[in-house]
Symmetry: D2
Subunit: 335 residues, 4 copies
């Protein structure tokens, strides 16, 4: 059993804590949150102990590994401390909102063999993963175009949006990683179109956007297209499509159940989509913990690591520059 | 070009006339209806001549073949006359509401090689036919169960229901033929359950039913299940499903187009089904004429002939007897 | 927290034990199995104690309630003992293979207010339940026809089939309950057609069947149709369809994920269905425990109780008699 | 009856001729093709007369209107001649490959009230049109993003590709019009990404592309995304999706029939998509003729006219410039 401590007991940290607690090959060793009440709540339900600082967690011999789900601006510091302490890390995305900080972090941890896994959970979704597999097995031939539709059911709270780093670093970051995962090679050109349509005034005030299209191209000419919106009222819209020389693979949306209604006015009416990431990526969050435990048990590099986190951020920077300058930006300009 | 005369210019006769008129290997030679105005209307749109009696049609040397779409109680007489005149016939179902009359007709035309095709148009539906093909090619292995869902969008007019011969002979007759087509062998046992739910008073008055389930079994144990209703408000519900040792084939319903709507309340909301047989079986009606022209040109027996019409009626009789007596009826008891 | 003991640690008992262990409002108090090793395995993973007899479980003051997942022939005895001991029971179906024994049990426990819940888990499936809700809310108007397709992915082991009580009591029993649940009123007539197609020799030897169609009718004429097969190679086929005066509701099958493949030979190719009941009814098994805990906490009668188990068995008896006698059987003849 | 002459009897001209011939409110008055044999073939099947020049057609008093389906480089000249002769025109797209020529044509016909309809047939597709209707009726609220997937089943012949004017003017032109149709306002910014993946050598030789993504933005920030490929082996991929504040509408692909196959390896396997435009847009081609006849009969401007043809070409020019210069291009720069 791998004994994992969870740092940060907000919504996603608490979810991870419960998943770890129920995992057949892991136990929840300890929890920490700057808000002690949040940690206590999770501890009460799981039997895990509460520790009162990151340092206490890293000093605890019963902690084999750490999951970082604290505020984004603490990720890099904690990650460096974990590596220094020799504790394998599963770090929620993003590593940091600043590419410079991420690069500095990369320099600091260079040479370490302690496993670092980045929390790009969508790679572990059975449907999206099956698209990747369909490419890997040759089922759709040589890949030509990847289309990622990724829309949140509704605008996040204003307080969150103010510190999110903007849509490209907060939301599209997942899609940049998905594009890299499906493409199997690096995008070298990025072109982005951004609008303020969902909440025009708030977005203008924040200097942010709510509706995006990003097109990327690899050196060999493969294309990846991301469409984002902060509001898809019909649920959390998460689709991945890959076109190749021999066919196409699509990972479709998911609903809470399969009941459809048929009346004089319509047929096939189904439920709205699963509302948000905890429901939609439920299996993926489980498999993510599996993968982390596997990496630790087998001493292998996690499938999705620090550099994946850094490269997704490079794409976000390139996209921001593309919007600002109205032109195609090469990743070499920002990375 | 095969020159075909259409007898009966009601809704279905007129439709056949227009289809023949537009057919690449057929022409509409003549039309007849006891209501001269109906025939004149069709003639005006197609350029076909109007003849004033069945005898005139049969005597006309420019008529190569005849399509019978007159009132049901005239089918058998006209069919006999056509065969006597050596004119190939495409006869709308049923041959007659009386099995005795059909048997007498069979005796009368015995030995003739003039092609007779029965109007079981659904056999020519590309989807249903693909189910049959999936069985014939072995795609689903040995057949075990056939499930036919067949529901009319709404109750026919009372005037029609009074002369229809009842739901088994009028509506289920198509499904009996479909069951035989898909099964590829003869049902020997029939068990039927009938209810009056759509229009209880009218049905009681007519001694008829509006909601049915029929289960049939072949000598080898294969099962076919038909569910019928006189009212499916979401459109004309026409599905065929076949279960075999290696898989299942389903012919799904059809909609006028593929637009789906997704809102805060639902996803995937599609249009109601195509409303009725002329729209739903549009291609099938075309292919039915193709098959008739093929049979005539090549001098071969039509794929669906007189005996198919007779055997479907035998199943209807068995089902009626099953309802009356509350027991399984063997087709040998009525056929 | 409701402290539940699980009796019987075979496949389904062990699953229940893990579900209870992870349940937010329940704990696994104890486990028992006549095979001590089976109980020990479950105990090791959950921290529950192992008790060495049913009597020990019933005498244990830390056991608030009991889940019976032992061999079928012990269900009725244990259930009676639980009621005598005042322990609420969740009993796996069937209560017993003998209707006489079930009736005797009913007489014995008459008058008790200790909650008894029957393990008809499918009632808690979100999709099937949504069909029931669509009827209850009037979305599809007055109900006319219910169609239940229920097929196991493959034949159970011969050893199991020998003691299963036959397909009607073992497999169709779930569908009889589903029919009652969806109909909302009692079937009064039963007509069944049975074949030996999947394993003809074994079935003949066992006096059992592997391919069924059952048609039932309520006093008001509503119809329910069940199609069963012991082998649907494309996965566990579990569909429920309800036709009413205002529309239709369908609970569709479920797949492990939503990836579809499209090539030169086909489009929309999806994964086989979820293979069997533990995967297919995963949420339903959780909700079943919720419902049991609710009933205990609130002191209310469980939604699906002893009489539901008895009435499903009455329908099984009627169906068996129908097959034997080739006729419609009224439930009053057997119940 | 509107008497229509068809100029050009190639694949699409012949199809139009047959459709007009079968149309209830139109007749095929005459046909012309520089290849007399092509015209003769169509005439033989329809009974229309063959004329030996465009001039002869325009001089013929029995010709009420003209459908131009000749080679692209003749469209503008013939269109001008038709307008001069006062004959309403349905002109296949594009008007010309040169925007300068189209602008000159616009100047020449300015002030005429003779109806001109452009052959953007997809506007008449029932599914795509239902997306437009869902917006117009408010069903999906304010529009934010339009996504058009448009892929040909396979590469056109090299001979055609050499004279096609390139993918933007030949293929994407339809999608530019569809984007304008769905958006309901004009794109002002265009950004395009182009690759050579299907036939890299041929495309490099032609200076053309086979795989595209185009992103457009209107003045209000609405976005339209087009993905194109010259090769989708699973059939003719034609989808339109619109996201709005209240929901989403999708026009899905179409298959020849609704049979799906389910085996041990897969479920829901359907036929490849309808292969190409004549099959896929069959109804749309009929409705296009309806609309043309309506415009003539009622003396109203066709729904899709000359300026629509010109504006689609402006978007093509902007997209080409965007690819060449690696930047966002404003339509005002080219239009």
């Amino acid at each position: 059993m791998i004994r994992i401590a969870v740092l940060g007991c907000g919504r996603i940290g608490a979810m991870h804590a419960y998943n770890i607690s129920a995992h057949p090959r892991a136990t929840l060793a300890a929890v920490f949150d700057i808000n002690a009440a949040a940690a206590t709540t999770v501890a009460a339900k799981t039997g895990a102990k509460v520790l009162d600082s990151v340092a206490a967690v890293l000093a605890d011999a019963t902690v084999d590994a750490v999951l970082i789900a604290t505020a984004t601006d603490t990720h890099a510091d904690i990650l460096e401390a974990c590596i220094a302490a020799g504790k394998p890390v599963l770090c929620e995305k993003p590593i940091d909102l600043s590419l410079a900080r991420v690069n500095a972090c990369a320099a600091k941890i260079a040479g370490s063999s302690v496993p670092i896994q980045l929390g790009f959970v969508r790679r572990f979704d059975p449907g999206h993963r099956a698209v990747r597999t369909a490419i890997a097995t040759g089922d759709i031939g040589e890949l030509h175009q990847v289309t990622i539709t990724s829309r949140d059911p509704g605008l996040a709270p204003e307080a969150y949006l103010k510190v999110s780093g903007g849509i490209f670093r907060d939301m599209t970051i997942h899609d940049f990683d998905m594009a890299r995962f499906i493409l199997g090679e690096e995008p070298v050109e990025v072109s982005a179109t951004a609008s303020r349509l969902v909440a025009p005034e708030l977005m203008a005030q924040l200097g942010d956007y709510d509706t995006l299209t990003v097109t990327m191209k690899t050196a060999s000419g493969k294309q990846a297209i991301i469409t984002n919106s902060r509001q898809s009222v019909y649920g959390y819209d998460q689709r991945v499509e890959a076109l190749g020389t021999k066919g196409m693979a699509i990972s479709e949306n998911r609903r809470p159940h399969g009941m459809t209604l048929h009346t004089v006015d319509f047929t096939d009416r189904a439920e709205p989509l699963l509302n948000f990431f905890i429901e939609r990526y439920r299996e993926a969050f489980d498999v993510e913990i599996d993968a982390f435990v596997d990496a630790i048990e087998k001493g292998i590099a996690p499938e999705v690591g620090f550099e994946d986190g850094r490269l997704a951020l490079v794409l976000a920077e390139a996209a921001l520059k593309s919007v600002a300058e109205g032109r195609v930006v090469r990743t070499s300009e920002v990375g």
